[in-house]
Symmetry: C2
Subunit: 195 residues, 2 copies
Amino acid sequence: MMMYSLLWENVSRHIKMSEAEKTRFLEDFQLKKLKKKHYLLQEGAVNSNVLFVTEGILRSYAIDQNGFEHVLQFAPQGWWMGDMYSFTRQKLARLFIDALENSSVFMLSKAKLDQLYIDIPQLERYFRILAENSVIAYQKRLISNLSLPAMQRYEAFCNDYPSLIECLPQKQIASYIGVTPEFLSKMLSDRSSRE
Amino acid sequence: MMMYSLLWENVSRHIKMSEAEKTRFLEDFQLKKLKKKHYLLQEGAVNSNVLFVTEGILRSYAIDQNGFEHVLQFAPQGWWMGDMYSFTRQKLARLFIDALENSSVFMLSKAKLDQLYIDIPQLERYFRILAENSVIAYQKRLISNLSLPAMQRYEAFCNDYPSLIECLPQKQIASYIGVTPEFLSKMLSDRSSRE
DNA sequence: CGTCTATTTGAATGTACTCAAAAGCGGTGG
DNA sequence: CCACCGCTTTTGAGTACATTCAAATAGACG
C-alpha cells in the first residue's frame, strides 16, 4: 500500500523480513493526520506512541523556566520522532512534540512495539541502528554547540539539513542552534551586507 | 572470573544468556591496562574497539580549530566508551579517548561484535537499550546546554554524576559543561563567598 | 482587509571569554 | 625526603559575543 512505502523502504534498508512478518509489522501502525501547530505530546503526559513522519514536519522541544522554547529535533518526511525518555520508560515527558506543517504520521504504541520485538527479533537490530545513528547525530551537535560560535553553528546546520533551511521559519532555526531570533536575524543581515 | 563480573552484571541486567553463550561472549574481550594520559583513540585513526571500563576513568573529547578540548563523555568503572561514529561506520575518528587515571578496559573489536550479533541475537537488544539510554542522556545534556546558564549546568552535572565531582579535576568539568576553567573557578568562589 | 506572528533594527546590558600573572598542588628525581 | 618542575587553579582587568527590551516593519492566514 502506497502510504506505507516510505516506512517500509526505511526498515528494509536495514533488515530483512518475510512477507508474513512485513504484514504483521505494518498492521500495528495507526495513521494520524494532524494540522499545523497541533500537539502529539505535551510535557507532563506520557509518550505512549513512537512516530514516523510520512508527510509534513514535526518538532520536539523543551520549555525552560523562563518560558523559552528550545528545539531538540525536527522530523521531516521519513524520520522517526518521540521523547525517548518518556517512551522507553513510560514516565512523564519532558518534551513537547507538535507539527510545524499539516502532517501525517504513523503511530506505534509502546505495548505493540514490545510485542513486535518478540515476534520479529530483527527489529531489535533495526532500532539499535536507529538509536546508534541518533547518538552519532547528538554527539556531533553537542560538540558543535561546545566548540563553535553562533554563525558557524548556523552554517553547520545549513550543511547538515539543506532541505530544512527552505521550509523552516528563522525563529525555529535560531532555537535549534541556540540563539535568540533577534540575534540570528542580525547575524544574517551582517553576513549578506559583507558581500 | 573476577575481572569479568562488572561486565557480566551489566549485560545480565538487560538480557539472558545460556552458560555457553556467556562463555562465547566473554572470550571475545581483550583486557588492556593503561596509564594515566595514555590514548586509546586519536582523531584521524579508526576506532576499531569498543571499550568497557573495569577500573579508572576514560574521557572522550574533541579538539576545535583553536586547539581547545571539549569533553563529550567521562567513562568511570562500569561504563562503555567509544567513538560511535568511527566504530559503527569504520571511518576516521573525530574524537580522542584517553585515561584520566590508570585504568583497565575490556576491548571488543568491530569484527567480533558483528559476529556476536549473529551468534547471540539477544545482544542486539542489549546494545539497543544502551544506545537508547545514551540518546536519553545526550538529549538531556543538550537541553541543559541550550536552556541553562553556566552555574546551573554545573549544578546539574553535580546532581547527575555526584561520584565524578570528587575525582575529576575542575578543568575537565569546565570543559564538559562548556565554560573556560577560569570562569568555573570564578563561579565557584563567588558561590562560596555568598554563604 | 485585519489580526497575529515573524522578522528587523537599535541601544543598553550581561554573561562568559581572553590574556596575564600569581599561587597552589602533585609527582618525580636527585 | 625535600626541591623543583609542570600543570591546575585562582584572581584581575579589559573585551566580546550574545541577550534583553522596545519598537517598527513585514508576512501569513483566515
